[in-house]
C-alpha cells in the first residue's frame, strides 16, 4: 500500500510539469499579449493609450523576453509559492484570488449537497420501482434538467426572482454586504441569493447522478445475494441499505476525483451569467485578456487538485472495496 502511494505521488510530478508546459503554451497561442489586448480594448471604448507607459510595462512585465524564459521565470516562482503578477489587477496573483476561493467552495459544497439530497432518494426510488409511473416521471424531470441550457435557466430564474421576490440580480449578496464582515444579515442575504445558482448548477448534475445510481443499483438488485437475503426474511429497507446500495456506491467514490476541481472552479458558465463572486468568471476574464500568470496559476491549481483528487478516490476505492487491486505499484 505504501509503495503504491509513493509510486503514485512520484508520478504526479512529471504529470504536473507536462500540464504546466501545456497550460503556458495554450495561453500564449492566441496572437498578441496582454498589453496588446489591453490596448485594443481601450481603443474599442474610444480611449487613447499612452505609448510610453505601454513600452515601460512591456519591459517591466518581461513581455519582451522569449516565451521559454517567461515560462521558466513563472515555474521558478511557483516552486517558491510566488504565482506571478496579475497584469489586469496590477497586483500579485496570490492577493487577487482572496476570498473568492472561500465563496466558491461554499457555493460548490452547497450545490454538491443539494445534488446528493435530490439524486439519492430519486435514484433509489427509480431503481426499486423500475418502469413504474414514478420512475418515468422522475426520470423525465431529470432529463429536462440535463437538456435545459444552464445559462438560460439562470437568466430566467434571475428575472423571475427579481420581479417576484425583489432579489437583486447577479452576485451572491445584496450590494451593501460586499466587503463587509460576516453578520446575520449578510448570511441571510447570501442564502437569499444562493438558491438560484444552487438549483441551476444542481439540476444538470442531479440527472446524471440519478441515472448512474439507478443503473448501478439495478445491476446489484438482480444478484443472487439479494434474493437470498430476501428469502431469509430481511426487511426490504434494511436489505437495500445494507447490501446492494453499498455495492452500487463505487461510482460515487470515483467521482470524488473530478469533484475536487469542480468545487474550486465552480460552474464557470453559470457563474459568469449570474456574475457570482466566485473564481470561474475570474478565470474566464483572465484567459480573455491574456492575463497569463493569473490564468496559468489558476489552471495549474485546478490541475493539482484533479491529480490529487484522482489519487484520493483511487485510495478510497481500494480501502472500501477489497475486490479492487492495487496494481499500479506491483511490477507486473
Amino acid at each position: 500500500m505504501l509503495r503504491y502511494v509513493v509510486h503514485r505521488t512520484m508520478m504526479m510530478v512529471p504529470t504536473l510539469v507536462a500540464i504546466s508546459i501545456l497550460v503556458f503554451v495554450i495561453i500564449q497561442l492566441p496572437p498578441g499579449d496582454y498589453l496588446e489586448s489591453h490596448i485594443a480594448e481601450l481603443q474599442s471604448q474610444g480611449e487613447s493609450v499612452d505609448e510610453q507607459k505601454i513600452a515601460f510595462l512591456r519591459q517591466h512585465y518581461g513581455l519582451d523576453k522569449p516565451v521559454w524564459q517567461q515560462y521558466l521565470v513563472w515555474l521558478w516562482g511557483m516552486l517558491h509559492g510566488d504565482f506571478g503578477y496579475s497584469f489586469e489587477y496590477n497586483m500579485p496573483v496570490n492577493d487577487v484570488v482572496g476570498d473568492r476561493l472561500f465563496l466558491t467552495i461554499f457555493v460548490s459544497t452547497v450545490t454538491v449537497l443539494f445534488t446528493w439530497a435530490v439524486a439519492f432518494p430519486i435514484g433509489i426510488y427509480s431503481a426499486t420501482h423500475q418502469y413504474s409511473w414514478g420512475d418515468y416521471g422522475l426520470t423525465f424531470i431529470g432529463f429536462i434538467g440535463v437538456a435545459t441550457p444552464n445559462f438560460l435557466l439562470a437568466l430566467v430564474m434571475l428575472y423571475l426572482a427579481n420581479v417576484y421576490f425583489g432579489t437583486s440580480i447577479g452576485g451572491l449578496m445584496d450590494a451593501e454586504y460586499i466587503d463587509q464582515p460576516w453578520s446575520l444579515g449578510k448570511f441571510m442575504s447570501v442564502l437569499e441569493h444562493l438558491w438560484i445558482p444552487v438549483i441551476v448548477i444542481g439540476t444538470s448534475g442531479t440527472a446524471g447522478m440519478i441515472r448512474r445510481l439507478r443503473a448501478n443499483l439495478l445491476d446489484e438488485l438482480q444478484k443472487q445475494y439479494v434474493t437470498t437475503g430476501r428469502a431469509k426474511g430481511l426487511p426490504e429497507g434494511r436489505l437495500l441499505r445494507k447490501y446492494p446500495l453499498r455495492m452500487a456506491l463505487n461510482f460515487f467514490i470515483s467521482d470524488i476525483g473530478s469533484l475536487l476541481p469542480t468545487v474550486i472552479s465552480g460552474a464557470e458558465m453559470v457563474a459568469v451569467v449570474m456574475s457570482l463572486p466566485t473564481t470561474g468568471p475570474m478565470l474566464l476574464s483572465a484567459l480573455q485578456s491574456q492575463d497569463m500568470y493569473l490564468a496559468g496559476s489558476f489552471l495549474m491549481f485546478l490541475a493539482c487538485l484533479t491529480v490529487i483528487g484522482v489519487l484520493i478516490s483511487d485510495l478510497a476505492l481500494a480501502v472500501l472495496d477489497p475486490r479492487i487491486r492495487l496494481q499500479g505499484g506491483e511490477s507486473t
Partner: protein, 630 residues
Amino acid sequence: MRNIAIGIVLAAGLAPSVAPAAVDSPFLASRVQSGELQPVDERLPDNPSVAELRPDSEPGRHGGDLRMLMGKTKDIRLLTVYGYARLVGYNTRFELVPDILESYEVREGREFTLTLRPGHKWSDGQPLTSEDFRYYWDDVANDEDLAPFGPPRVLMVEEKPPIVEFPDERTIRYTWHKPNPNFLSALAGAGPLFIYRPAHYLKQFHERYADPEELKQRVRKAGSRNWAGLHNRLDNQYTLDNPDLPILQPWHPVTPPPSDRFIFERNPYFHRVDQNGLQLPYIDRVIVNIADKDLVPAKTGAGDTDLQARYLRFDNYTFLKESEKRNDYTVRLWKRGTGNQVAMYPNLNVNDPVWRELVRDVRFRRALSLAIDRTEINQIIYFGLAEESNNTVRPESPVFKPELQVKWASFDPKRANDLLDQMGLTNRNSQGIRVLPDGRSMEIIVDTAGESTEETDVLELIRESWADVGIKLFTKPSQREIFRNRVFAGDSLMSVWSGLDNGIPTADMAPTELAPTSQVHLQWPKWGQYYETNGEVGEPPDLPEAIELLRLMEAWNSSAESDERARIWGEMLAIHADQVYTIGTVSGVLQPVEVSNRLRNVPVEGIYNWDPGAFFGIYRPDTFWLAEGE
C-alpha cells in the same frame, strides 16, 4: 434663511470677489467636530471655483450615495473621467476654461503660464504647489528609470522638450521653441495628461528622495521588481487603484482592489463650490458595483443603479423602458459623439495588386458609397432615429459643414454603376457580378472584429444593395487582434469599425484622425505606421490627396491662431468627404442613459462621447444631486 442665501448669490454676482460663506456637507461634520478635519473654509482654496450651472439645472443639497455599475475592476478608472477635474477643462460649449488652475495664459501658442489657486489642497490636505509640477517634470517624466522612453510625446515639439520653469509656488511655465497646439487639449482630455504628481506622497517611493533601506523593504513587500515598478504602480492618478494616493478629483477611492464593490467618498478638499457656497460634490459617496458586463442591462432594469450608460446599448432600450415605473428611473436618449456608428474602411495598402489599383481609384470608393441605401439601414436597424451620414464630424461640432455629411453619401445606384463602368469594369459573369481585370469576380471580403451583431446586420443590408451594382460582399468575422493584424499587414481588403472617434472636435483639437498618422487608421495602416516610426517601417503615402492631408496636419501643428486651425480643419474634412477614404453609414446613434428619478441635474439630452466630453464629465457630475426620498 433662503432669502439670505439668494442675497448672497446676488452680491456674489455683482462683486465676484465676495464669495458666499462656504457650507460643508453633514457627511464630514463628525470628522470636523473631532478635529480630524479643518472647517470647510480652511479646506477650500482661497478662491474656489464657483460651478456654473446649466440653465436646465438647479442648485441642490448635500448627501446620498450614487450607485453605478461597471463591468470589471479596471473600469473604476472611469470615475476620473466622470469626475473631470482638470487643470483646464471643456465646458458644455466645448470651450476650454481653467478648472484646477486659477488662470492660464498662452503667448504665441508656445508659452503657457499656468497659475494655481492659492490654498488649493490635495485630497489628503497637503498643499498643491508648483513643487508637485516640478517633481513630475524633473523626477518622473525625465527620470531614466521611471520613463525610459522620455516624456510623453505630446510634450515634445519636433522631438524637442519644452523649457519648464517654476517662478514661484503657484506658477508653472512651459515654453516650446514652436507652437504646441496639443498641450491644452491633452490636459483637458477625458484620459488627461497629468503634469503634476503628489510629490509629498511619492517621494517616499523615489530613489532620489527615499531612505534606501526603507525603500528596499517597501519594494520587497509589494512584490515589485524594482523601485520604478512600485513608483509607477502607485502614482497612477488615472486608474484610482491606490486609495493612498492623494488626488484632486471630486471623489476619492477608499476601497483597495480587488473587490466587487468600490466606494468613493467626497474629497474634503475639492476646489469647487456652488452658487450658494455649498462645497461640491453634492453627493457624498459614489458606489461602484462590479457585475458582468452582459448582466449590466438586466441589473439596470432591476433598478440596481442610479446613473448608467456604460454597457447599455440602443437595443436594450425597450427592455429598460418596460421597468421604468416599477423601479423609479427614467431612460434618456443621448447622442453618441462618434463620427459614424458603422463605417467601412477600404484598405489603400492592401497587398493584392489588382485590388490595390481599384481601391486607390476614387471613382471606385465613390461608387461603393453611392451604392449603400443608408435610409434602409437607419429604418431597419435604428428605427429611423439615427442620422444618415458620411463618416465626418457631427453637427454639434463648430467645424461641421452640412454638405460634407451628404457628399457621395446619397443612394444612387445608377450613378454608382456609371462610375464603375467608366473604370472599365463592364464585364459581368453569369450571376451579374462584375469581373476584375484579371478575370476574378468582384467579391469584397469585409473583415469584422466579430464583437457586435450590429456590424454584421448593417453589412447584410449593404450586401443586398451592392449586389445591384454587381459587387458581391462577404463578411469575415474574426477576433480583435487577428482582425487588426490582418488589416495592418495588408491582408484585408476592407474592414468595418466605428467612424471617427472624435465626432465633435473644435478647431483647437488635433486633426490627427484625418491624416495618415497612425497604424490604427484602418484605411491606410502602412502610411500611418510610416509616420509613427519616422519612416523606419511602413510605406510613404503616395496619393497626392493623402500627402496634402499630411501637409495640412503639419500646418495645423505649427499654427498659433484658432482661425487658421478652423480653416485647416475645413480643408481636411472637404478632402476627406470628396475622397471617400472611409465609407460611413449612420451617425448620431442614440445612447440610452438610465437616470434614477431622485437624481437631479442630469441633462435630458446630451452627447455621450469620450473626448471631448468625458462621457458625463462635461456635465459635471459633482453638481448632480439626490432629492430626498427612501
